[in-house]
């Protein structure tokens, strides 16, 4: 069990290589093999869940080996409750994405599954790395498979979309790199050695002069916010989503965006709490704008995939508000909402993909009355939409409720207005999703082509059912998951109680001698 994290990372990566040597025509073998590997990874991650000690907020399954001694860099892995949930989400989404790709992907099959498995390993690496250099390597490495996934198997405008995605995220990443190196160097006098081990430097970052802390926080956070993506850094997202193949969209929405919010919790807050509190108003305002803006744009979209993409902007803004509210409830809510968004939006993208497979269009106007020909499909679609809206009994409610509850009285946000305005997003999401449902599923069938559409197939059900199980599970009994992250969230909050937050808010940002606060 000691090496389980390494196994989780490198099982998909190493076992992706044989795919390249399979015979090109043996499509079944390639698909089955890729699915098998991803299922094994999932089983292992479930084992990880069961052997995880939820009573502790410390990093568990820690593995620390010297990697590059010269810069004191370690191959340092570990999970706490937050990363554990994200790993579970990752390993769940990948088999689903692989199944969802069986039909749509018809060219370069070998390369496709090879890249998917590579991506899975790297994603788990991001969520488990506790050394900043290691983290950065995985973080950047993800761009490579993603670039090809969108660029080769994407839609009409795929090249524009993938280049935009690549450059945007790279822009954030290089700032992150500067931030990482600078942090290491500024911490060096206090730690004695140059180190980028986050457990170690987190104890020293508060000694850095505050003005520098704020710059470092900005360098780190900008990279994460682009990934989230927060308004106004979101423009890459609709393009990437619309052009990506279905599985690409699912992974992008369910997992890649979570890298940003994960980074906010683990690094922005974990390393620079004072700057985090100081800059809360700026980011909270952006998040609120993003929530409203994303929701409004969703309403007017004509393309289903774009609609879901803009709804992601809105939902992710919600998660960011939860994180910056800095209360136990809101943080818990954000963590669980990260999972929820992964499940619901992932499922929505799958549905859009299914429709696209049948009609080769994603324009809402092309549809109408599908409920008559595809009753099961319509019913499931409604459940997922409701979960995304936040209907009690389904997962979205739990996350949104916790975030709103925590954020309303948050000392860090300072005022309840952020929460009140954000809460309107729930109404908006009801508007765009139900209206989407109405336009696509209800009413008379006007187009001839729609009359012969087949209902959901077994293979498609296989992709949706696991997501639905968790959607309902979290909605009915969220404790299975909340329990895991509870202690970790407390640890992440660094025992920041209201008085401490007040105190940090009143610290002057002028440069001063390093001292312990």
């Amino acid at each position: 069990m000691a090496n389980i994290l390494s196994i989780l990372i490198f099982l998909p990566i190493l076992f992706s290589i044989p795919i390249l040597f399979f015979k090109k025509d043996n499509v079944k073998l390639i698909k089955g093999y890729a699915l098998g590997i991803s299922l094994i990874t999932f089983v292992l991650s479930v084992a990880l869940y069961f052997s995880f000690n939820a009573g502790s907020g410390e990093y568990q399954f820690v593995q620390k080996m010297p990697w590059v001694k010269i810069i004191n860099s370690y191959y340092y892995l570990g999970v706490d409750g937050i990363s554990l949930l994200l790993i579970l989400l990752t390993t769940l989404i990948f088999p689903i994405s692989i199944i969802a790709s069986f039909n749509p992907i018809k060219i370069r099959i070998k390369e496709y599954y090879f890249l998917l498995l590579l991506l899975e390993g790297a994603l788990i690496g991001v969520f488990t790395s506790l050394d900043l250099v290691l983290f950065y390597v995985f973080w950047e490495f993800i761009l490579i498979p993603m670039y090809f996934l969108i660029g080769i198997w994407g839609g009409e405008e795929r090249i524009y979309a993938t280049v935009k995605f690549f450059l945007y995220t790279m822009f954030g990443s290089v700032l992150l790199l500067i931030g990482i190196i600078w942090t290491g160097l500024l911490v060096q006098p206090f730690a004695g050695v140059f180190t980028l081990d986050i457990v170690q430097i987190a104890t020293f970052t508060t000694y850095i002069p505050l003005d520098k802390q704020i710059i470092l926080f900005c360098l780190f956070t900008l990279g994460f916010l682009i990934k989230v993506p927060l308004f106004p850094f979101h423009t890459w997202l609709p393009d990437a989503h619309v052009q990506a193949p279905t599985a690409g969209s699912v992974i992008l929405a369910a997992l890649l965006l979570k890298m940003g919010t994960y980074g906010l919790i683990r690094f922005s807050l974990g390393l620079f709490p004072v700057a985090f509190i100081k800059l809360t108003p700026v980011i909270a305002v952006l998040a609120v704008i993003g929530i409203i803006y994303g929701a409004l744009l969703s309403i007017v979209q004509k393309d289903m995939k774009k609609l879901v993409a803009y709804s992601s902007v809105s939902h992710m803004g919600f998660i960011v508000i939860g994180i910056f509210a800095l209360t136990n409830e809101s943080m818990q809510g954000s963590v669980i909402q990260m999972i929820n968004h992964g499940l619901s939006t992932g499922a929505l993208f799958l549905f859009v993909g299914m429709i696209y497979e049948r009609r080769h269009t994603k324009l809402i106007a092309e549809f109408g009355g599908l409920r008559k020909v595809m009753p099961v499909f319509a019913a499931l679609f409604l459940v997922v939409s409701l979960s995304s809206i936040g209907l009690p009994g389904l997962n979205g409610f739990i996350g949104e409720f916790l975030i709103l509850l925590g954020a309303f009285n948050s000392v860090n946000l300072g005022t309840g207005w952020y929460t009140i305005v954000s809460a309107t997003a729930v109404i908006f999401s009801a508007v765009y999703l139900l209206w989407l449902y109405q336009r696509v599923m209800l009413g008379p069938i006007e187009k001839e082509e729609n009359k012969v559409l087949k209902d959901i197939t077994k293979a498609e059900l296989a992709t949706i059912i696991p997501l639905l199980i968790f959607i309902v599970w979290i909605g009915v009994y969220p404790n299975t998951f909340l329990r895991v992250s509870e202690m970790s969230v407390k640890k992440v909050l660094l025992n920041l109680d209201n008085t401490k937050i007040q105190m940090m808010k009143s610290i002057e940002t002028k440069p001063k001698e390093p001292e312990k606060n």
């Binding site: 810069i71 390597v137 950047e140 090809f148 993938t162 280049v163």
Partner: protein, 501 residues
């Protein structure tokens, strides 16, 4: 001046073995070519063996710190590091000439081998020269051989045109350089950089326009070798016009040699030796050459990267990219610290493999499609996936994506910059690397994302040797990208110049 005796000279010969071997290699190859004429592989093999032997002797010199030939040259880890770098790159380039169609189809292609060895000899001397006469001579040895090589395929118009431009630029800028040297000589009365440094440190030179002017003039010579802005105008034309192996040689060996001589000249001449304040070497007061280098470096990065974006020819794009890469490497000089020097050496090692690799792919592509235009690479990822994947590795490395050696180099450079409180410069550099990413992935875009015009194209076949060479270049790129401790150790060990520390 040291007393010149026969005994001293003979003693110096023992520190001159690698160079002697190279001279012997040139002569042997020349005769072999005369005798064998057609059998090009034997001459090439002889050249490679000579280089290996010379590299071995250079390796034995590691750790030596000697001044040879009455202060004309020195043997120190820094010089030895570069000698080995030159040996490796020259061997690869000779292998390139064997597999390049455009060279094999030209007349007298064997002459490439010994001209390249001769260039390596010049590069060796550039790395170890400690006297301005020696610097000028070695620089010209490299230059003159490269003029010939770039105009070698004389039936091809653009090749002789490139050579023409190269000669004019080269001769003019080295002329400007020695004018600067003559001014420094007039000011200090010495040609030896150690003596010059001592004299400058004693005399009050604050803001002396003669010194500043001569620094700029000397930079013209060095800057032209490393193709730094604003001495870069020859680079795109020559890179595009010359045969690809020669271009690779110019981009790697010749510019690395330029860096070697430039680092030694500036670090020795304009730093106060033996005085360390807070672990930092002190610049001789009043001569703010680092500021000039900052300007050149930033200009190189910006102009190189932004111009590369518009290029349609891969060779031209790589030319601008190497201008930009030169800008990154120069960043290491701007803070005049040991860390900066180490970072430059780390970067140069990575640069060697990734640039040679990229050029080799260009050769292999050109062998099949007879073109180096991006458009003609369309769909290459489907016609020859393995080659294209290697190209992806090299491109990602040049762009500095983690898990490649290019990232390690950038990581070290940025660390050194931030450590010297030059964060803004590091920011300029990283933003530039985002721009550079745009054109590096453009190559991949053409190779993988765009389908070839004709639907069913036959797969291109390459020999096992071609793959082996590519693998030899790509493995270090990936291995040192993930485990860079040895790389850094070598660089730290080599960042020792005689007279410093």
């Amino acid at each position: 001046m040291q007393e010149l005796t026969l005994k001293q000279t003979l003693n110096s010969l023992s520190g001159f073995i690698p160079e002697t071997v190279l001279i012997a290699t040139v002569i042997v190859c020349l005769f072999l070519d005369l005798i064998l004429r057609k059998k090009s592989v034997i001459v090439a093999v002889a050249g490679i063996v000579g280089l290996l032997v010379s590299g071995y002797f250079a390796y034995l010199q590691f750790g030596m710190r000697e001044v040879i030939f009455t202060g004309m040259a020195v043997v120190d880890p820094f010089a030895v590091f570069f000698k080995i770098l030159f040996v490796v790159s020259t061997i690869f380039v000779i292998i390139f000439t064997i597999s390049s169609k455009e060279i094999q189809e030209s007349t007298h292609h064997n002459e490439h081998v010994y001209l390249m060895v001769a260039m390596a000899l010049g590069a060796f001397l550039m790395a170890s020269a400690s006297n301005m006469i020696m610097m000028y001579l070695s620089l010209e040895t490299v230059s003159i051989s490269s003029y010939i090589l770039s105009g070698y395929t004389k039936r091809i118009k653009r090749s002789s045109e490139a050579a023409m431009k190269y000669v004019i630029y080269g001769a003019a800028s080295s002329g400007i350089m020695i004018y600067g040297m003559s001014l420094i000589y007039g000011f200090t009365g010495s040609m030896n950089i150690y003596e010059i440094s001592a004299i400058l440190a004693k005399s009050a030179v604050t803001g002396n326009p003669v010194i500043v002017m001569s620094i700029i003039m000397i930079l013209a010579g060095f800057g032209y070798k490393i193709s730094s802005v604003p001495f870069h105008f020859w680079t795109p034309d020559v890179y595009e016009g010359a045969p690809v192996p020669v271009t690779a040689f110019l981009a790697v060996t010749s510019s690395a040699a330029g860096f070697a001589v430039m680092i030694r000249f500036f670090a020795v001449t304009f730093l106060q030796n033996n005085i360390l304040l807070n672990g930092k070497l002190q610049i001789i007061p009043g001569i703010n050459w680092t500021e000039i280098i900052v300007v050149l470096s930033v200009a190189s990065m910006i102009i190189g990267n932004f111009t590369a974006v518009w290029q349609q020819s891969v060779k031209r794009m790589l030319a601008y990219s190497s201008i930009a890469q030169g800008g990154y490497i120069m960043l290491g000089m701007t803070m005049a610290t040991q860390q900066g020097l180490t970072a430059m050496l780390v970067y140069l090692m990575g640069y060697l493999f990734m640039t040679l690799g990229a050029f080799y792919v260009v050769i292999l592509v050109a062998n099949k499609v007879d073109s180096d235009e991006l458009v003609d690479m369309r769909g290459f990822g489907y016609k020859s996936p393995v080659i294209a994947v290697f190209m992806a590795v090299f491109m990602f490395s040049l762009a500095g994506i983690p898990s490649t050696v290019g990232f390690v180099g950038k990581f070290y450079l940025f660390s050194a910059l931030i450590e010297s409180n030059m964060v803004w410069l590091a920011l300029v550099a990283v933003l530039n690397s985002v721009v550079s990413l745009f054109f590096y992935i453009k190559v991949l875009k053409y190779m993988f994302l765009m389908k070839p015009e004709e639907e069913l194209t036959p797969k291109y076949q390459y020999g096992i040797g071609n793959y082996a060479v590519l693998l030899l270049l790509a493995l270090p790129v990936m291995f040192f990208g993930l485990y860079f401790a040895p790389l850094v150790k070598i660089a730290e060990y080599s960042a020792i110049l005689i007279g410093l520390k």
